[in-house]
Amino acid sequence: MARFLIRRGLTMIALLFAISLVTFLLFIVVLPGGNPASMLAGRLANPSEVQLISHRYGFDQPVYVQYFKTMANIFDGSAYSYQSSFNVDDQIRQGLPTTVSLALGAGIIWLLVSILFGTLAAIRAGRYTDRVLTVLSMVGVSMPPFFLGAVIIFYLGYKTSILPINGYVPFTQSPIQWAYHLIAPWFTLSVLFIGFYSRVLRSTILDTLSEDYVRTARAKGLSPRRVLVHHVLRTSLLPIISLWGLDFAQVIGGGAILTESVYGLHGVGYLAAQSVGKLDTVTLLSIVMLTAIAVVVLQALVDFLYAVLDPRIRLA
């Protein structure tokens, strides 16, 4: 199992490299005017200057050489955006605290709430609680984050001033203001995941309840609570946790584009959306690589949690 998870993590990284290659080809080869040299040289440059710059930055080299050079620059932190001529590393580093704050809060909320909802719906399957939770999760998966965000900003921000309208306050500056400014984004980002995860957990629990070992546990006289927590939940949580690992990694890697945009949080997702709009290949590739790193780290964490939850897996 652990080997399977490690292999899956490695596959995911290979895929992210494939993504970076596809993005590179799309933007450099498919798009015309993809030659950033003329952009760097400025409007008044003569052809020889453009050629000089083209040569210095390596735009005259074969595509694969350009690709590997760009990737090497990204990894040693010396990549510059051809569009804004900012250091890409610095830009991501500026956005990262916002995105990590968003991801941490939302990740904890959506994990805990969906465990609660999923478990409740499963043990009350077919009854009133289950139906209400099912409807709620259906609303959740049908809710575009930018619409939900707009509604919250208007009613809780402008109308009643309960919550701030937008902006981000660093944790180091004021932890209370930090949380206060992030409550709405946390909630908005969590809603969709809660809707989906609680449905998955509900059906996993219902499947697990019919397993033989659960019947055995009941038969030997364990209390229903102990059977639920120690025998049913412990295995039913596994799929939720691996889903969570990947989703959380994607949010860190700028996956929360819509939430960050609607709340004006200038995080990695916002940067990703901006760089696609500006066809800023280098920045976009860097963000994809950030996702790759996040996937590796989260995969390790998921492996660890698997070992804790599943007694058959032991960490070497």
Binding site: F27, L31, P144, P145, F147, S203, L258, A273
Partner: protein, 343 residues
Amino acid sequence: MTITGPNPAEGAPETGLPPALLHEAAEVGPGVGPWALAWRRLRRNRVALFFGGLFLLIVVICLLAPVYSNDIAHIGPNDQNVINTTNAIGIPIGPTWRFDHYFLGADNLGRDVAVRLLYGGRTSLEVGAVATLITMVLGVLLAIVAGYFRGLADGILSRIMDVIWAYPVVLLGIVLGTVIAVRGLGPFKSTTPLSTALVIGFVYIPYVFRPVRAQVLVLREREFVDAARQQGLSAGQIMLGEILPNLSSTIVVFVPLILANAILLEAALTYLGAGINPPNASWGTMISDGINEIPAAFHLVLVPGIMLVLAVMSVNIFGDGLRDAFDPRSRVRIAIASTSQGD
């Protein structure tokens, strides 16, 4: 997580079937096909039927947009009329609740929100429907080819699908949408509703490809496929005549799921500027226009937003009922929802 299609051998009681289903199997007796059985279950699910009906109603109302525009409201979706519809500082009027005069209010250019809502709905639903068609046709056909031939064809197709699948949905959508907007792609010189549908349809192909391929891998080993092969049927005949019909219940279950997500993705791409272009109305353009007007005229966000959520939710709930009807033992197999928005 495992993604499997509905069990094709439904109806035959076997061990491990929940008591309620055993009871049902006994009740309907032998000889009732999977479709009749599914319809029997769906008919009992009032909630799913209600929301299926609601979605049909929304579709019909949106298709009647020209009728409302010409005969009742007497104003086109892009007709501007700032006199009497905006106040001194340019804030548009809210809903008047009069069918013949700005029923749901005006926007900041004095356009009729109700008329635009219906026309926009038409665009959103059409984009969603075309995208779903593209996803289903390509997803299923490629899956049949990959699953039937296995080997090299399967390897290549599966790896391509893996790459598309690993790309965050919204990010891939805006990358492709931007490439089309800047460069054009084939016949598309710039963004059109059809090009947006193409992008959305493309993005969701792996979500259909993977589960269908898994099912084809099982089906190709079954006796009836062997029999067809013995009779000398060509690979094409077996794939389309023998395997495809056996995938129909999976396909039926996937259509509403993809449709709901396609409608959502249209709105998301448009909001990020990589989807439908103004002044064309779609629910996505209306919401993103409205977000720029916060807090002055919130009905501009609320009206299209509620409509969008209602439409998507009714498709989702109906789809959920449909899945239960075809495979009551289903483990939730919607890997789609989790990645639909990227966040």
